[in-house]
């Protein structure tokens, strides 16, 4: 099972995703503040980050760049209610593995997370 970090500016959204993934046996830590999430990832072993794009101070893309700089092997899923091709391009270029659009259902989230965590994922 994986260590997963969730960053979303809406606490309820963090909690919802945390519940879904915890039930799957993952250790999930949620944040609404960018700096706290980045500090956590720097200090702790993390397999996967799920990042919202619209955050409080930075954009999810900026956080993605910071995380990849700190830990290049970290896996990242972007999650947004405001999808654009530009942010999708930017996210993929920076190494995000999935670009998911809200609203996201439980089974879709579980499926995407399983796919990204699969060992043969390159």
């Amino acid at each position: 099972m994986a260590n997963i970090v969730i960053l979303d500016d809406v606490a309820d959204a963090v909690e919802l995703i945390r519940k879904i993934l915890s039930r799957k046996g993952h250790t999930v830590t949620g944040f609404t503040e960018e700096e706290e999430a980045v500090a956590h990832v720097r200090a702790n072993s993390t397999d996967l980050c799920i990042l919202d794009i619209k955050l409080k101070k930075m954009s999810g893309i900026e956080v993605l760049a910071l995380l990849k700089q700190a830990k290049p092997s970290i896996k990242v899923i972007m999650l947004t209610g405001y999808p654009t091709l530009e942010t999708a391009r930017e996210a993929m270029k920076l190494g995000a593995l999935e670009y998911c659009v809200k609203p996201i259902e439980k089974d879709e989230l579980e499926e995407k997370v399983a796919k990204v965590l699969a060992p043969d994922r390159t």
């Binding site: 999808p83 091709l85 391009r89 659009v101 809200k102 879709e108």
Partner: protein, 856 residues
Amino acid sequence: MLLAHIFKYLTYQLFAPGVLLRETYEAFKKALESDKAGLELIAELEDAYHTGRAVDLAWVHERCVRLSHGVKNGVDNLIKMSPLRHLSLQDYFKKIDFYVTLSLTPLEFDFSPPFVIPLDELPRDSERLAGGKASRLARIARELSVPVPRGFVATSRAFNYFCEYNNLRPDIDDLLARVDITLPGQIDNLSLKLQTLIENATVPPELESALRDGLRRAGMQTGVHHGLAVRSSAVGEDSELTFAGQYKTLLGTAAENVTAAYKLIIASKYSASALVYRITNGLIDLETPMAVLFLEMVDPECSGVVYTSAPENTEASGVSIYSLWGLGEPLVAGEASPDVTLLSRVPPCRVVGRKRGTYREKAVPRKGGGVVRTDLSDSEKQHHSLSDADAVRLAESSLGIESFYHAPQDVEWCKNRKGDLFILQARDLRIPPDGHRCNTQPATGAYEAVLRSGERAAGGAGGGRVFVYAPGSNLDKVPFGSVLVAQNASPDLARVAARMNAAVTERGSVAGHLASVAREAGIPLIVNAEKATQLLKTGEEVTVYADEAAVYRGIATDLIETCKKERRRDMTPFSRRFRSALNYISPLNLVDPAAPSFTPEDCRTMHDILRYVHEKAVHDMFVAAEKGAGSGRGVMRLDTGLPLAVYLLDLGGALREGAQPCSEVRLDDVVNPALGAVFAGMCQPGIEWPEDRRNLDWQALESTGNGAVVSLDSKALASYVLASSFYLNLNMRFGYHFAVVDVLCLPKSGSNHIMLRYKGGGAEYANRRRRVDFLSRILTAHGFETRVTGDLIDAALRQPAGGTLLEKMKIIGVLLGSTRMLDMVLVNDDAVAAQVQRFLTGDYRLNLSRRVVAEH
């Protein structure tokens, strides 16, 4: 339009002065129109994918955009009908729509500098920046110290910038979306428009100055005596696919003409043959931007091509060098049969064989640019163009490149008058593991040879009618399944590769561009076949057996079968993107309207959304009418005597005079003649209905696997009829899905019609296809015009006379009554034919074993 007036009339008759209800009805009709248009587009896309139709990604994209508009329209109209329900459907539509767009959009698209890089400064892995040809040339020059001419490359980003600066993309995509490579003449027309777009566009000032800077940095602004060779170096070229000879090369270009030459080369990205090649091989326009290589031109004594291995299989282990005096252009263009030198591969290489070519002319750079043909000198006529010593140097150098890339190589080279050898290009020779030749040696003694000369350039056997191509004539006249016979092995012939079963040319060589393309496409090709255009006559049937360089009279089916190879249809960049987009378009997850998972949240595809909209629009229309009619006219349950739940909305005059509108009416009370006829059809002998409607098992019909039996008393599984005295709109449950039948039956009207539409369902694609095939055959036999696209059928009968109309409605009733069980009967194409036969003789019993019925 008469029909529009009738709708308006009916709307006002029924709903005036209830404005709200009238608007609901308008929205309902629009939602159904969106459903129709959307399903047609989905069927067209599915059909293109499943049949492997050769289209550009822009074609797919254009249809997806129309689908998106249609589905959005459906969603908006459903929400207009019931403003407080289905709201989340908009969010799920936006999400799925974005996934479709994302699937079709290449993510890497860079148009930032550098626009120009000298060859010796190219970074190590620069294929995406500098294209296949330039990046490989730079790499072997740097890492193997192979001599290459001075030069620079205008990058793929420069090409992207050129397109962005001139805002060409919308026009390019618009033209690419119209490409149909099977239509005669069309490709030339579109290709010309595309190339004109590029040629009329402006080279951005930054790019123009970068090109001048490129000349300076490569040390070529002065002292380039023989001009420049300007060559394509597209991303994807000279890699997995060679694109051999499909793009333009300009020789002898003056330094001051680099900008004009640049435009000509990038325009050749859209030449007819390059377009056909790219689309046929499943590559994407945006993913194959054109970099351009500018090399100092060498005034060559001789030039040619090295194959470090026989292109047919690696076991024939010699190195072959093809050479001729002057420039190599006539060789790769398939116009000359070159000198050949064979060498051993084991170092030190040594010459083991020589063969003199048959060419009489050579190509040389012309003063002031371009190329001119001249006769060979007496000395050149007498001597092989390549000395043994040079052959050994070239072979060793080429084997070094082979060792570096771990693959046999196809190397273009030239030698200047001082005796220096240069490598101009090196690409992998793609040899399939089992080669191109026939696996077994077929016995050919029984066949009559019409021609037995030349060399195998691409192995195998193929038969068909001969088409002798005269240079300069229209290639579109080449029929499908031809054996193409031509003087030159010109790479332009590759444009009609899909129409050739085999080809024979009088000139050319194994190392020409056409030979590369023929091997890639698996087309048997004989080159250097003397007098082929005289010995083979247009129209006669022959079999080309390239392995033995022989052409036999007639179609030697067993020979062709023996040599037949299963061509693996690999996923291409195009098919991967298309499939990915279709995953968000085509599958139907919302099959059961009675299931709790029939919600916007469970929509995963455009098809799901359309399905949801159709189901809910019909449902909400009836709910609205039930609430709003008030006067007693409105929604009634129709007792048809069959185990079906059917609801009727009387649009005016549907019931006989004196009938009391109440919650349930009998079929006898309905005066619309078409409705009576359709149910009469459903009651024909031979059509079986279960005793108890609650046991009618839609789930089995759809093969969705969970086996649940649902109650048909539920409105979620009912059929719905909107009817007046002369108009009928029947949303008939056909499995879990609606078949829509629309009928106008005025007593004396030339505008009467019957229209039927049905698409798919949740069963396997093959089953769905057979179902529409069956419907199409029966309806066509009954005079309907039918159009089948994928698993969608549209059938129309226009202006039928009164009696005929009712007779045809009866047939529709028979079909609707039978189709419940069709999937269990139509297990293969033969079963479809047999069942059609029975139906057309009036025997409506399905050939269904009792055992199967019992199981279901």
